[in-house]
């Protein structure tokens, strides 16, 4: 009996040791926006686990947080969503003392109108919303996908019927149509938006689907020959196609009319369970080598000066990752809409989806 008691006491004493769970950093991230190797390296540094959950659209992220979603430490929204999250009072101010590597970010990406003084956000990576294509099929069909016309002009689409997907995102698709008509991606003139709607409706019968989640796979498999989507997703589709030894490549094409540039930044949620780990993670991701992974492994554009020397030279040739000065001038960051503008845009979007 005594032995049993001792054993019981020993178990009781050792219980807290068992109960101590490994520290966990909760990262709420875009699909396909962080390589596993980088995560593993961070886990080794912090002696913690990284748990990722994913979203495919900034509006989805905002909706989840507005509905009371909590438990996230670090999130990676686009700058316009950062501005909205600041207004929502959903973010924890960054402690600059804990993020010395913030100095690695190129000055042109700091102190933007979305977050003056970068009180809340640390720029992380860039993507351009463009067109990804199957090079073999485009050659066969004689299509040069250098313009938004490839997804909007019925004359070109006639050859691609059922082989094109566009993004299932009101802002991104409207921006592409506005750019195609020569307007700004941030145009809120109702007449111009109506014009963009007509452009979309004329092209819609030729599209296979509005697709936000599976176009990487469809491009890789060869089911879809042309997709409107993020530049780093096209990079991923190309890697996958190579790995699967497909007889074609998936290449990004920068539309000559210009496109939407998304600068994504790391922020910390106000109710983050582990703000300490969150700061550590942000600083880690801003180190040159780790930041370079984003370009080398997932094909993101990179706002980090220190990262440049670690980036594979062949990637620096790709215009979709490193736009030249002329192209850069035509890139625009989306701004958040005010409630009235959003209501109008959403009505148009519902009409587009239903007609």
């Amino acid at each position: 009996m005594k032995k049993l008691l001792v054993a019981f006491a020993a178990v009781l004493v050792s219980l807290p040791a068992f109960a101590q769970k490994p520290a966990v950093l909760h990262l709420y991230n875009w699909n396909n926006y962080m390589s596993d190797e980088t995560i593993k390296r961070f886990e080794a540094t912090c002696a913690c686990k990284v748990k990722q959950t994913y979203y495919s659209d900034n509006d989805e992220l905002i909706a989840k947080l507005q509905a009371g979603g909590t438990g996230y430490d670090v999130m990676v929204p686009t700058m316009n969503a950062v501005a909205a999250l600041i207004k929502m009072n959903a973010l924890l101010p960054l402690d600059p003392a804990k993020i010395p590597n913030l100095k690695n970010v190129m000055p042109q990406y700091l102190n933007t109108e979305f977050d003056p003084g970068n009180k809340y956000s640390a720029p992380y990576a860039m993507t351009i919303t463009l067109v990804g294509y199957n090079d073999k099929k485009m050659k066969e069909l004689g299509i040069t996908p250098d313009s938004w016309a490839t997804i909007f002009d019925p004359a070109i689409l006639a050859k691609l019927k059922g082989k094109v997907t566009v993004m299932d995102s009101q802002r991104e698709l409207m921006a592409a149509a506005l750019k195609y008509r020569g307007y700004s991606a941030n145009d809120v003139d109702e007449k111009h938006l109506m014009e963009a709607k007509e452009v979309i409706l004329a092209a819609k019968p030729y599209w296979a689907a509005f697709n936000a989640s599976s176009y990487i796979k469809e491009l890789t498999v060869g089911n879809i020959w042309l997709a409107h989507g993020f530049s780093n997703d096209m990079f991923q589709a190309d890697l996958d196609a190579k790995a699967a030894k497909r007889p074609f490549r998936v290449l990004p094409a920068m539309p000559k009319e210009g496109a939407v540039l998304a600068l994504d930044a790391m922020v910390i949620h106000k109710s983050a369970p582990r703000p300490d780990l969150a700061h550590q993670f942000i600083d880690f991701m801003l180190q040159g080598q780790n930041a370079a992974d984003l370009t080398n492994m997932i094909g993101s554009g990179n706002p980090n000066q220190e990262a440049q020397k670690f980036i594979a030279p062949e990637l620096k040739q790709i215009k979709a990752i490193f736009p030249d000065a002329d192209t850069a001038k035509k890139l625009e960051m989306l701004k958040d809409l005010n409630p009235k503008q959003r209501r109008f845009a959403n009505r148009l979007w519902t009409e587009i989806k239903l007609k």
Binding site: I62, W207, A208, N338, P339
Partner: protein
């Protein structure tokens, strides 16, 4: 303890559960439908700061928007048609299957029922992704299908990202919900009734149509309600398998809450959807009871 107290104790937990997780959210939804949308989703405050541009207080605007534009009612009609087709297709597939299981030897029945619910052991989305591969343009199935239709001189057609893909997905996902109540009903039929009918000269068709089928109607109604109601509100299947014209009412509701940041309009759509679902569940229950007495 009196039986009345026992009844209350037994029905208390589920009742409380329904009250908290169904009645209260529906109440919140009804209240939300009369409010303005907040800037970042959620609802605008009831009492404003006095800024004349600010939208505060109560409004019928979201209801007006629903009834002003025919596209929303048309979308309801379309979703209704998809749900009806799904229900009928499920019934057509499930009835012979359930009958077969119910009439098979007793010891193999449990195994057969287990096979019906086996798909539930893997995640719903994984099963839908499997259908994306099966229906993809390069799959054996699609090529065989188009080879077959080609033999009749028809143009090859894409299966994935089409209304057909959505219907296949809807029927596939909901089939077990039709099989189980039907089987539960058919299994209880007294075989002596069929023997008696045969003795009195009824042929196989008459025995089915005048005995088995009428007796199975409560199972049919229960299965139809279990299939029709979720099929009416589903959004994942049209999202994944559907093309540019496959949006259903569930997708619009999801879009209002997740993308459009318009909770009030999303609430109006949900209220109409909930009302339709309650109406059909009520009709099914009523028909089921009529036949039993």
């Amino acid at each position: 303890m009196s039986t009345r107290v026992q009844k209350w104790i037994l029905s208390g937990p589920p009742l409380l559960y329904l009250l908290v997780f169904f009645a209260v959210p529906v109440g919140i939804m009804v209240l939300a439908s009369f409010r303005y949308a907040g800037e970042f989703g959620g609802l605008a405050p009831l009492f404003g700061t006095g800024d004349p541009d600010e939208l505060t207080g109560l409004t019928l605007e979201s209801y007006q928007r629903f009834f002003d534009d025919r596209i929303y009612l048309e979308l309801f009609a379309k979703s209704f048609v998809y749900a009806v087709v799904t229900t009928v297709a499920c019934l057509a597939c499930a009835y012979p299957l359930s009958l077969m299981i119910a009439r098979s030897p007793k010891k193999s029945r449990d195994l057969l029922v287990l096979l019906v619910i086996l798909p539930f052991w893997s995640n719903f989305l994984i099963r839908v992704y499997a259908w994306m591969i099966i229906l993809g343009p390069q799959s054996l199935f699609t090529r065989a299908f188009n080879g077959l239709t080609g033999a009749f001189g028809l143009e090859p057609m894409p299966l994935l990202f089409s209304p057909i893909a959505v219907l296949i997905g809807l029927v596939y996902v909901h089939l077990p919900f039709m099989v189980l109540p039907l089987y539960a009903n058919l299994e209880k039929h007294d075989p002596a009734l069929l023997d008696a009918a045969q003795d009195l000269g009824a042929n196989a068709w008459q025995r089915f149509w005048r005995i088995t089928f009428p007796l199975s109607l409560p199972g049919v109604y229960a299965g139809a309600a279990l299939v029709f109601i979720p099929a009416l509100g589903i959004f994942a299947i049209p999202d994944l398998l559907g093309g540019t014209d496959s949006m259903l009412i569930g997708n619009l509701v999801k879009q209002q809450f997740l993308d459009a940041r318009d909770w009030p309009f999303g609430s109006v759509l949900s209220i109409v959807l909930t009302a339709a679902a309650i109406l059909f569940a009520g009709l099914a229950a009523w028909f089921g009871r009529q036949k039993r007495t």
